[in-house]
């Protein structure tokens, strides 16, 4: 198994399954006040968790979702939890805190002030609870309302499809426009409307480009937008917000079914099939499901057709295009010879894709290809010949300076990292349970991460001379060191993992020739990437870094997976707000990492461009057996 997969497959291997019994246990050296976290084993009404300034909050207990019976009261509208000064301190504290390796306690007071983040509520009531709190935020700012808003916008899809979420928002607005419930005080309808506006704004800002992909959601937003515009006169104080709303609605170019589709988008070649210098040098922009891409589909005899398809196309759609292209007759497809779509790795490993699967292009392995064949021919499929002719390569890596290679790696990975929408992190972990949203950009980054790992091995193992190989090994360690300096932990990790590949690490003679200084350096790198104590060393180093930085993204996904699997989202129909919060926190760390632009000074000289092109379209062997073969050929006796 590839190291990366191994890491991802065992989300809990180094973690306690439940929060450890010692209460208040905090990772990282005492950066957070002790009462921040609590274990499940403790009673809810912990003395460490004093009631907020507002007095006993019913929700305070309700947060203990898994302990509380379902009658846990929903925070009543009359009880807007007032602001809490310690909130800001909390935020600051949290920034310093290393990424939490702990599973989410079923509940915790995130700020240690007892200001009660929010009560668990049935999905349909949670939005109402949020809206109740929001006006407070509009004036005083502060209290958890802002953070709750962000939590819910980021994670609502866990318990409520986006479209339904928006519909509810819409309903709240309509309700506020009509006669308000008797218990509402004067002006509360207006307040509610403002709250809806605030939620909508935050939603739009968060989703932005993604909304073009969701027609039905776009429709609801449009309706709500028109509704809000109808009584703009009410929002004198909120002119800025309204202006922002205009802009946002405009920029997201909401696609509504009855409107003409936007002008043809340019086809974005997915880099795997079209190694083209001209396009690989361009700055990468995010892929969206509606983007059209080219993809090659192979036949059993290795013929291929290139189809043009939406990135989000289903296997069924792809097969329809292929069938049409090949002029596959109807008679054939009804005879039971219908085509199936298969992915095949360079090692010959193959799997049949289900007709309903969507956006498969970005989930393929590095040198995997799509094959269309009939059930009869499935067994006879053989992989394409290795793209790399197994001859000692004399690639760019031998010519280029380590600094240049490292900087181009960092620059490219920063581009890829930036292309990932915040929600892709959430959707990646939760897809399969909810309607699948594309996570193409995240998948491409993961693919790249494993590509870099194999690149390291490929280059080393294609280098025949021992002296030259040792020199290249030194160079790769140096590249890793510079990537680390660049705060590009993704490239750093990938190179170290690549060097730890068994086919590489068994090259005893090569490692022996490495200067002592570099041996020590690499040993340090191994320690830094050591997964023990849930990647403690790495997390500590990361916590000390200031943005911009590129984290080792697979670990974020592992943490999210753990947060997800470690606790339920719904129990007895109530939403685990604390879980939402923990997940949103994780996503916010990504936001923080990207809060400043990463600028590297890179020349545009021809030599630099060549290095850049090389780095951006690595040719690698991803067939571990082949790597071993090469390794044994280079150093037969070594162990």
């Amino acid at each position: 198994m590839k190291p990366l997969e191994k890491l991802l497959k065992k989300p809990g291997s180094h973690l306690p399954v439940r929060p450890a019994a010692p209460p208040g246990q905090v990772p990282g050296p005492g950066s957070v006040p002790a009462p921040r976290r609590q274990s499940l084993s403790r009673p809810p009404a912990s003395p460490e968790e004093p009631a907020g300034p507002a007095g006993p909050v019913p929700g305070g207990e309700g947060r203990w979702l898994e302990l509380r019976p379902p009658e846990a009261p929903l925070r009543s509208p009359e009880d807007p939890s007032p602001g809490c000064d310690r909130d800001r301190d909390r935020d600051r504290d949290r920034d310093r805190e290393p990424p939490s390796p702990e599973p989410p306690p079923a509940a915790r007071c995130c700020c240690g002030c007892g200001c009660a983040p929010a009560a668990p509520a049935p999905p349909e009531r949670l939005l109402a609870a949020l809206l109740d709190r929001l006006p407070a935020a509009a004036h005083g700012r502060g209290c958890g309302a802002e953070s709750l808003l962000d939590d819910i916008v980021l994670t609502h899809s866990l318990f409520l499809p986006t479209e339904r979420f928006l519909q509810q928002l819409h309903q709240h607005f309509v309700l506020a426009a009509g006669s308000p419930p008797a218990r509402w005080e004067e002006g509360s309808g207006l307040r509610r409307k403002r709250a809806v506006l605030a939620v909508l704004l935050h939603f739009l800002e968060t989703y932005k480009g993604l909304l073009q992909e969701e027609e039905s959601a776009g429709k609801v937003i449009k309706e709500l937008y028109l509704l809000i515009m109808k009584d703009t006169s009410l929002y004198h104080e909120l002119e800025d917000e309204i202006l922002k709303l205009h802009q946002l609605v405009e920029t997201v170019e909401l696609k509504v079914a009855d409107e003409t589709p936007p002008p043809n988008k340019q086809v974005k070649p997915l880099f795997r099939h079209f190694r083209r210098i001209d396009s690989c040098l361009q700055t990468r922009v995010a892929f969206r499901g509606s983007d059209e891409i080219f993809c090659r589909v192979y036949m059993p005899d290795h013929s291929y057709v290139t189809i043009r398809s939406r990135l989000s196309a289903s296997v069924q759609d792809i097969l329809a295009s292929v069938t049409e292209k090949l002029q596959y007759s109807e008679e054939q497809s009804t005879r039971g010879d219908a085509l199936i779509l298969v992915t095949m790795a360079s090692s010959g490993e193959k799997a049949v894709l289900q007709p309903s699967e969507e956006c498969v292009f970005t989930t393929l392995g590095i040198n995997s290809h799509l094959f269309a064949c009939t059930r009869d021919t499935f067994d006879s499929l053989v992989p394409l010949p290795e793209e790399i002719q197994v001859v000692p390569g004399d690639t760019e890596i031998h010519r280029a300076e380590p600094e240049d290679v490292a900087n181009h790696l960092t620059a490219f990975h920063w581009e890829l990292f930036r292309c990932i929408h915040e929600l892709e992190f959430v959707d990646y972990v939760f897809h399969g349970e909810r309607g699948r949203r594309e996570t193409a950009n995240l998948e491409l980054l993961l693919q790249r991460c494993s590509e870099v790992q194999h690149w390291v091995g490929t280059e080393l193992l294609l280098c025949e001379g021992l002296g030259k190989r040792a020199h290249l090994l030194k160079k790769l360690i140096k590249i890793a060191a510079i990537c680390k300096q660049n705060q590009d932990m993704l490239s750093f990790y990938a190179i170290v993992i690549g060097l730890n590949n068994a086919a590489v690490s068994r090259l005893r003679l090569t490692w022996e020739k490495l200067p002592g200084k570099f041996k020590n350096l690499f040993r340090k790198f191994e320690n830094l990437t050591d997964p023990c104590r849930n990647h403690k060393t790495y997390r500590e180093v990361l916590a000390k870094m200031k943005p911009p930085l590129i984290p080792f993204v697979p670990l974020i996904l592992k943490d999210l997976t753990f947060l997800h699997e470690g606790s339920k989202t719904l129990l007895d129909g109530l939403v685990n707000v604390e879980k939402l919060h923990c997940i949103a926190e994780k996503v916010r760390t990504v936001r923080k990492y990207r809060s400043r632009p990463l600028c590297l000074e890179l020349e545009a000289s021809p030599a630099q461009l060549q290095t850049k092109a090389y780095v951006r379209q690595l040719r690698v062997i991803d067939n571990q057996n082949l790597l071993f073969e090469l390794s044994y050929k280079l150093e037969p006796g070594s162990q």
Partner: protein
């Protein structure tokens, strides 16, 4: 595993809609359809004989639009033989072959030994003819290449086109015939051929 270097690569060029894919699919699969699906790049493989042994004929069907100059250059540099297709119903399509021909000359240098076939397709549409047979021949003479009019629709001259092209290869002996062995597709194609004799 098929050996890459053993392949004999034929590349088909021409403006959009002249019938490149139709010719290729008629040859490879024996089928024809009126519907038009723009091609990006497809490659079909067929076993042929080459210097008395077996090799793979790789026919690359390219895009008619000029969207991807880099891909075009790559196909030329990798190709062993070229088919330049225009439609006899469009003078413009013959014009559009000029830059492609020039690029082949530029990339391949000496084209004396490179099999190139100029093809006027759609010769079943005589009523819409814009380019006379003689004009095609004249152009071929100028370009020092072979010439043929075809119809993928009626299966006129399609197999002959590929056979002729391979005959032009002087550096090795390539032939569509593999002694005594015919693939299922070929048999099927011949069966179909028997049904529509328009010649």
């Amino acid at each position: 595993m098929p050996e890459q270097s053993n392949d004999y690569r034929v590349v088909v060029f021409g403006a959009g809609g002249v019938g490149k894919s139709s010719l290729v699919l008629r040859f490879v699969k024996g089928t024809f359809r009126e519907s038009y699906i723009p091609t990006i790049e497809d490659t079909y493989r067929q076993v042929i004989s080459c210097d008395k042994s077996i090799c793979t004929l790789q026919i690359t069907d390219t895009t008619g639009s000029h969207q991807f100059p880099a891909m075009q250059r790559l196909s030329i540099s990798k190709g062993h033989a070229f088919i330049l297709v225009y439609s006899i119903t469009s003078r413009q399509s013959l014009e559009e072959l000029k830059p492609i021909y020039e690029q082949i000359c530029q990339i391949k240098g000496d084209i004396e030994n490179i099999p190139i076939m100029l093809v006027g397709n759609k010769n079943d549409e005589n009523q819409n003819r814009e380019v006379e047979n003689s004009e095609g021949e004249a152009m071929a003479k100028k370009w020092k290449c072979a010439f043929m009019e075809t119809s993928a629709k009626t299966n006129h001259n399609v197999k002959e086109l590929f056979q002729e092209l391979l005959n032009l290869e002087k550096r090795r002996t390539v032939s569509l015939q593999i002694d005594g062995k015919k693939s299922k597709q070929q048999k099927r194609k011949e069966k179909l051929k028997g049904k529509c004799v328009v010649m």
